[in-house]
């Protein structure tokens, strides 16, 4: 009984784009046993009706919503099923976003959002690292609610340290991020004991330019024409087609706050090493920190190099 099999199933890995898709992709990975892109067909990769019932059960437990029993049959991809969850996904607006559960044998990797505040780009890295690795994203406050973004790196880092301690009260801690995410990870390292990794990751390694459609976030455009900006993001597959219209305004506000924060940042003392993957971040990391450069000419090499450090 694979009623949805006539739809294309070989879409390759396409990463989730927002908290609802990330949450759903993680459930699918748990249920199916391997990572699945957001446009891959649930039944086409071996999901059966029992597995589909597990998905609706998980939705019930997380959101308290009873979806129709045939909902996965009718919406057999993460992308399509997520459209039904966005209205209930308020609980996913917090900073902590579980991306991949891992096998529990090593501490999780916490990846702090880049300037635009989202953690979707880290999903591809988690996938490339492999399913054994636990990965959390930390997304900016104010993207999916009207909460006011924090405006200094130390304040942001202090809040995220609380977030991290809530799931991992003690170390060792593995931290990383792109752009401002690297600066925040550095500041978090200065606040935490037993930090094993601070990774500054060149965002071009996460989503290399020139691969298919341009999926990169460019510089924040001006706030002149929000609907047009949102449409162009949708066009470039950066956000779901049913994203809330206010997302553009929130996104620009977060973006601006992060750029202000990083411009005014004065790094705290931290003596541990910083591992730099690809080009060093635009903001100056303090000279007191030992920087270890990893060239990583391709995106696959990033995962390989990182995996070596994670052990």
């Amino acid at each position: 009984m694979n009623p949805a099999l006539n739809e294309p199933i070989d879409t390759g890995y396409q990463r989730p784009r927002d908290p609802a898709e990330i949450w759903l992709a993680r459930q699918w990975q748990d249920i199916l046993g391997f990572a699945v892109g957001i446009r891959e067909n649930f039944f086409g990769v071996g999901g059966n009706s029992l597995d589909a019932a597990r998905v609706t059960d998980a939705v019930m437990v997380e959101f308290g919503v009873q979806l129709p029993l045939n909902v996965v049959t009718e919406h057999p991809t993460v992308e399509r099923l997520a459209t039904l969850l966005r209205d209930y996904a308020g609980s996913l607006s917090g900073p902590l976003v579980a991306i991949q559960d891992g096998d529990g044998t090593r501490p999780p990797l916490f990846l702090v959002h880049p300037d635009h505040g989202q953690v979707g780009p880290y999903c591809g890295l988690a996938h490339a690292l492999g399913e054994d690795f636990a990965v959390f994203g930390i997304q900016a406050v104010g993207l999916y609610t009207d909460a006011e973004p924090r405006r200094t790196v130390p304040a942001i880092a202090a809040a995220y340290v609380d977030t991290v301690r809530a799931v991992c009260p003690t170390g060792p801690y593995l931290l990383g991020g792109c752009a401002i995410g690297a600066a925040i990870a550095y500041e978090m390292a200065a606040l935490l004991d037993d930090v094993r990794l601070v990774a500054a990751i060149d965002h071009e390694l996460l989503e290399p330019p020139g691969t298919g459609t341009v999926r990169r976030w460019q510089q924040p455009p001006g706030r002149s024409d929000l609907p047009r900006i949102l449409a162009s993001w949708q066009e470039r597959d950066l956000v779901p087609h049913d994203v809330a219209p206010e997302f553009a305004a929130r996104s620009l506000r977060v973006w601006q706050a992060n750029q202000d924060a990083v411009r005014d940042w004065r790094p705290s003392p931290y003596t541990g090493p910083v591992d730099v993957f690809g080009l060093p971040p635009a903001m100056a990391l303090p000279v007191t920190a030992v920087q270890r450069i990893h060239e990583c000419s391709t995106d696959g090499r990033l995962a390989d190099a990182l995996r070596e450090l994670l052990g």
Binding site: I9, G46, A52
Partner: protein, 496 residues
Amino acid sequence: MVLSVRRRIADTARAEPDRTALVGFGTDLGQQVMSWREFADRVADAADALGAALDRRTRSCAVVLAGNTLPAAIGIAAALTAEVPVFPLNPGTPPAERDALLGLLGRRFGHGYLMDAQLRPQRMDLPAGPEPPAAAEGPGQLNTVAYLLATGASTGIPKISARPGPLRYDPARTPSVVIRQAGWRSGQRQLIVGPLYHAAPFSAFLDALLDSNTVVLQPFFSAQWTVELVRRYAIEWLQLTPAHMREILRLPDPDPAGFASLRAMLHTAARCDADTKRGWIDLLGPERVFELYGATEGIGVTLVRGDEWLARPGTVGRGFLTQIRILDDAGHPIPPGTTGTVFMRTPQRIGRSDYVNGRAIRTTLDGFATVGDHGRLDRDGYLYLEPRDHDTINVGGEKVDPDEVEAALRDHPAVIDAVAVAVPHQTLGSVVAAHIVLRPGASVRKAELAAHCGRRLAGYKIPKHFTFVDQVPRSAAGKIQRWRLAPYHQNGATPP
């Protein structure tokens, strides 16, 4: 009085025109109810359309896309009414497997008629097999087969078994005595959970058709929905597989009161573990739990009720109108308590299936036959089955041939070798796991391998686990040694 299907359906519709014959659910899950009068009319119309379309110069069969829907139920009934052999096809069958099945049909039939959703027969040319189908010599030739079922039987290799026909209603034999012994009553309300293209739900549907049941068709399995349908329609008779049973027991607090209307639950299709069996005996009480063992081939059956099972845990029961003989490898009978190959013989051999593709059941000179299962009898004649000694993987009652899965995997450009084995699954009993050797330097996503298999194999055959290994164990002769990889044997035995 023995009656044709046409006559029997007409009689039921005349006696109780307004009673419900079928309850189904559309794609929106909206309830669709059909009375016996309406059902009989629709079946008669579709049967007439099929009869009119038939090319009587060649043997033909009807093919019905047999999801649990009203059109599928009507299509099957129409073909049986027209006395055209009917093949219920899994609508989710991928094209390659579908072609293989139609090829098997082509060995016996010249034309197939696909009953579409509007119940109009669409003629399709079947690929001609090695033996050209004989032209029909007369009307008698057409109805030598009542229906055909795809069955992996005990080997997992796709094949089709043919049931001699035409189907008839015989008050003494419809349904069979063993089914009546398992709590069946004429005119009962039955829920069909398993798909109509499977042997057990299909034959339960035929019996329901001929014995004036009200049938509720559950279009796909969900444990909580099954429980809800039993309660809502006051279902009296229910046939399940052990996988269904395990899923229902996993529900939080299944309420025995919800099953108050149920006279019997009969389970078939796969070995049932003791915990699941006891769970259902706790839920329904031992007198309402029945188990039937007997392959689709129709060489014999055993039946056991819950109270008998509690007295002899693990038994599949005694032969029902069936003699059982345990033979050693040389074909000699062996005494009770000793394990050997299970042979069975039943006087009702009229129902014995043969194989379209020439695969035979092993038989003794005096008419005992086996599908290769091993087991032993106790002194009172109760049968206990042993683990099966071949590599077939049983996924919730569906048989998977590991060779077929391995061939599909090796067809992927990144894969140079692959082994498929069974691994335990909480409710399905086991699922397929694959050990993969990749080409040097190649990499591939697990989901891509799964999707690759999904384009070639039915969904339940897609491996649920992939492990990348450097090499697969093979004997000196090159044969894969699956037992070296299996972390688990299907029946719990630990490999050496």
